[in-house]
Symmetry: C2
Subunit: 440 residues, 2 copies
C-alpha cells in the first residue's frame, strides 16, 4: 500500500524543497529591497468573503467546508480579499502608503494541468493609499526586478498592459452598456487564452450585435495607444484613460524596465475587482499561461466595508514560473553547505567523541554532521563531499593524544591540532543572535 498525495498537490522532498525555497527566498529578498513589508493571513476565511467581489470563476473553484459551528469556510484561492480585510481593520492607525508583500499558499479546485495545480504559492505585492500610476509602476518594477535578477531578459518575457478604464470607456463608445461590463470582463479575459474562433463564439453569446462584437475584437487587437483613434473617436473619458497609461509607461522608462512592457488591450484580467491598470506577464515563447498579473483595484477596500482608498497590486505563482525556469535552465538553488563533517576511522572507539565534538560545534553556531554507521575513511570522505562539507575532522590514531586531523575539503590540505586548541581557535557563534549577525 503506497499512499499517494492528493491529486493536484505536491510532495516537497529536499530537492524540490530547495527549489521552492530558492524561488520564495528570491521573492522575499526582492520585496524587501523594494521597501515592502511582509504580512500573511489565515489559510481559510469565511466563504462569504470571496463572494463579495472576486467574481464567479474564483467562487466556483473554492475548496469549502464547515467548522463545528456550521459556518461556511473556504481555503483561500487568493490573498487580496484577506489583504483588504486586514488593511480595513487597522486603516486608521496604519501610515499610508501601505507597501506589503506576502507569499501565501493558495488553493483552487481546478483540473490540474501543466503549470496549474490545486495547491500553489503566490507572490503578492500591493501598495495601498496611492492614486497615481507611480504606484502601479513601482509594483511592476518590483516584479521585473525579480524576474530580471534571475536572468530573464526582454527577449524572454513581456508585460502586456492595458487599462479597465480604457476598456470601459472604449466599449461605451462602441455601444456596450456600462452595466454589461462586469459580465463581459471574464469573457474578454479569454481573448489571449483560447483560440480566436472559440473566443468569437463566447463573445457572441454575450454580445448579440455582431458589429459591436467585431469592433471589440478589433480594439483588443491593436498594438499601440495611437491606434485607438482608428477604432473610435476618443472622448474625455478615453483620453483620461490614455493619459494614465502614458504616465505609467513614462515611470517604467525612468525605472529602466520599459523594454519589458507592451501596451495590449487584449489584457482584461478575470477578477471582477480591477478598476484601472491591468497587466499580465507572459513567456514570449508563448506556450504557457501568464506567469503573473495584476492591476489597480481602487474600490475593493470600500466594498469590504472600509474607506475609499485606492490600491494596486500584483501576483505571481510558483508553478508556471517553475516550469518556465526549468525549461530555460534558470533554476539555480544553492546546494546545502556543511561546515564540518566528523569522520571516525574506528567508529566504536571514537563515536562518542565525534558526537560530543559535533554537539559542541553546533552549540557554537556551526553546522556539523557525524556518521551513525561504521564505514571506511574514504567512504566517509565521500559522504562529507556529498554533503558539501567545507572541512572534515578525522578522528584516527592521533586522537589517542587528543589530536584531530582537520582536512580542508576544497584544498585537500590537512593539519593536526589538539582538541582544546581547535576550539580555542574556532571561537563561538554561540547564540542565535550572534549566529545571525555573523551571517550578515
Amino acid at each position: 500500500m503506497k499512499i499517494p498525495p492528493v491529486k493536484g498537490t505536491r510532495d516537497f522532498y529536499p530537492q524540490e524543497m530547495a527549489v521552492r525555497n530558492w524561488i520564495i527566498d528570491g521573492w522575499k529578498r526582492v520585496s524587501l529591497r523594494n521597501g515592502f513589508e511582509e504580512y500573511d493571513g489565515p489559510i481559510f476565511e469565511y466563504l462569504d468573503m470571496y463572494r463579495i467581489k472576486s467574481g464567479d470563476e474564483i467562487v466556483e473553484q473554492l475548496f469549502s467546508f464547515k467548522d463545528r459551528g456550521d459556518r461556511n469556510l473556504a481555503l483561500r484561492p487568493e490573498i487580496t480579499p484577506t489583504l483588504a480585510r486586514m488593511a480595513n481593520q487597522k486603516i486608521n492607525t496604519l501610515p499610508l502608503p501601505i507597501k506589503w508583500f506576502s507569499v501565501p499558499r493558495l488553493f483552487r479546485a481546478e483540473r490540474p494541468q501543466k503549470g496549474r495545480l490545486r495547491e500553489f504559492f503566490q507572490w503578492n505585492i500591493d501598495i495601498i493609499g496611492i492614486e497615481g500610476p507611480l504606484a502601479d509602476a513601482e509594483v511592476i518594477f518590483c516584479a521585473l526586478d525579480y524576474l530580471r535578477g534571475i536572468g530573464l531578459t526582454p527577449d524572454d518575457i513581456e508585460v502586456r498592459m492595458s487599462s479597465r478604464k480604457l476598456l470601459a470607456s472604449v466599449l461605451e463608445k462602441i455601444g456596450v452598456a456600462e452595466k454589461r461590463l462586469e459580465v463581459l470582463y471574464p469573457v474578454l479575459d479569454k481573448k489571449e487564452k483560447v483560440p480566436a474562433g472559440e473566443f468569437k463564439q463566447m463573445l457572441s453569446q454575450k454580445v448579440a450585435d455582431g458589429k459591436i462584437a467585431e469592433k471589440i475584437v478589433e480594439f483588443m487587437g491593436i498594438k499601440a495607444v495611437s491606434d485607438i483613434k482608428n477604432i473610435i473617436e476618443p472622448d474625455d473619458k478615453v483620453n483620461a484613460a490614455i493619459d494614465r497609461i502614458v504616465v505609467l509607461f513614462d515611470w517604467l522608462k525612468r525605472m529602466g524596465v520599459v523594454e519589458y512592457c507592451q501596451f495590449d488591450p487584449g489584457i482584461v484580467r478575470g477578477l471582477a475587482y480591477y478598476t484601472d491598470s491591468v497587466y499580465e506577464i507572459y513567456d514570449k515563447r508563448g506556450e504557457l499561461r501568464a506567469i503573473g498579473g495584476g492591476g489597480r483595484y481602487d474600490d475593493l477596500l470600500k466594498q469590504f466595508g472600509g474607506p475609499a482608498i485606492p490600491a494596486t497590486g500584483f501576483g505571481m505563482g510558483d508553478c508556471v514560473l517553475g516550469v518556465m525556469l526549468e525549461e530555460r535552465g534558470l533554476l539555480k538553488p544553492a546546494p546545502a553547505e556543511l561546515d564540518y563533517f566528523i569522520a571516525c576511522v574506528e567508529l566504536e572507539q571514537t563515536q562518542q567523541d565525534a558526537v560530543k565534538i559535533a554537539a559542541e560545534l553546533r552549540t557554537r553556531g556551526y553546522s556539523a554532521e557525524f556518521g551513525y554507521k561504521s564505514a571506511s575513511l574514504s567512504r566517509q570522505l565521500k559522504q562529507a563531499s556529498a554533503k558539501n562539507a567545507k572541512k572534515c575532522i578525522i578522528l584516527g590514531d592521533e586522537f589517542k593524544n587528543n589530536e584531530l586531523v582537520v582536512k580542508d575539503m576544497v584544498t585537500s590540505k590537512q593539519k593536526r591540532i589538539k582538541l582544546d586548541a581547535f576550539f580555542a581557535e574556532l571561537g563561538t557563534l554561540s547564540t542565535a543572535e550572534n549566529a545571525e549577525s555573523a551571517e550578515k
Copy 2:
C-alpha cells in the same frame, strides 16, 4: 462592516509576521546546523490517512471536506503521517538515515485558548533508519540547541522523559493486559494535564481494579529510574527498557544538554504511534501546556505500507513557545533594515530622479525607498530613521549640478558626491546570485 478572521486563526500584520519569521528562521537555522534537510507535504491529505495510527483524539479534531470527486480530505493536523507516506514512497532510493525537518502549517478544530489555536506552525525534526537511542538523543539535542540558543536555561525549561516500552512492561507486571494499552495511553497522557482527582476518575473508568489503578499512579509519580524496583520487580523487558533510557541519558550528557533532562514516567504522549522513548518539554513555571514533545515510532512506516524501519522525531508549535518567550522578554525579532532612503527637498522638482535612483539601487541589490508625498526634509529624515535606513540620499539644490548629499544615519556625517561617482563607487550586486553571496 469589519470582517474578522475565522475564530482560532491569526492575522499576521508586519509586526506579528516579524515574530513568526524570527521563530521559524531560528528553527530552520538550527535544523540545518544539526544536519537536517527541509521537506514539506501538501496542506491536505486523504482523510483515511489520519485514521491509520494517529489515534482518536486527532481524528476528532480534523477539519475535513470533500473534493469534486467526493473523496474525503482533511487539513493536516500533524505532519508525521505525511512524512511516513513520503518516506515510504522513496524508501528504496533514499540513503539512510533520513534526517529531515519541516515547519508545516497545521490545523486542529479544537476550542481556541491561550497557546492553543486552530491554525499554527510546528517545527518537526525526524530521523528515520536508526534503531539506537543516539538518534533520539540527536533529535532532543537539536530541540534544546534551539531553545538554549534563544536564551532558555535549565531553570526555565525541562525535558520530561519516559519510554512507552518501560510503561508497557511495567503495566504488564502490574497486571494490565497488553491489548488494553492502546486505549489506556490517551488517558495516562492526561496525568500531568488535568488535576490529580480528575485524572484518577478518568483512570478508574478504564481500569476497574482499584489496586492496579493505584499502582499505575504510584509508578507514574516516581522521580528516578532506580525507584522502579520499589513498584514492581523488574523482569527482562523492564530492564531492557531501563537500559535504553540510561543510554539515552548518557548521550545527552555527552552532548552537554543533560541538565535540561528529567526522567518522568508521567509522560505518555497522546498519539497512538509511539513505541519507545517519549518526552515533552515544559516551562518550569508550569502554567502552560507542553512547549513540544516527541518520541520513537518504530512501527509507523510499516503501518503505512512500507518496510519495518525505525524512526524517531520531535515537534514544537509556535503558539505556546511564543506566549512563553513573550512573557520572558525573549522575543527578539530583528527590525527590518533599509540601505538607502531617498529624500526630496522639493518633491515636484526631484521625484522623478528619486524614483530613478531608487530603481537603480534596487537593481544593484540594495534596498531603497522613496517618498510618495511631499514633506519637509526633517520629516523625511524621521521617516528614514523609522525605516532603519543606514543612509539617506538627499536631493536638494545641489542636485541641479547632479550632486547628491549622502547622510550616514548612524554618524550623521554628510558628504556631497556626483551622481555618476556615487554609482561608480557603489559597485553592483546586480543579480540574485550576487546578492546572495554578498549576504554571506
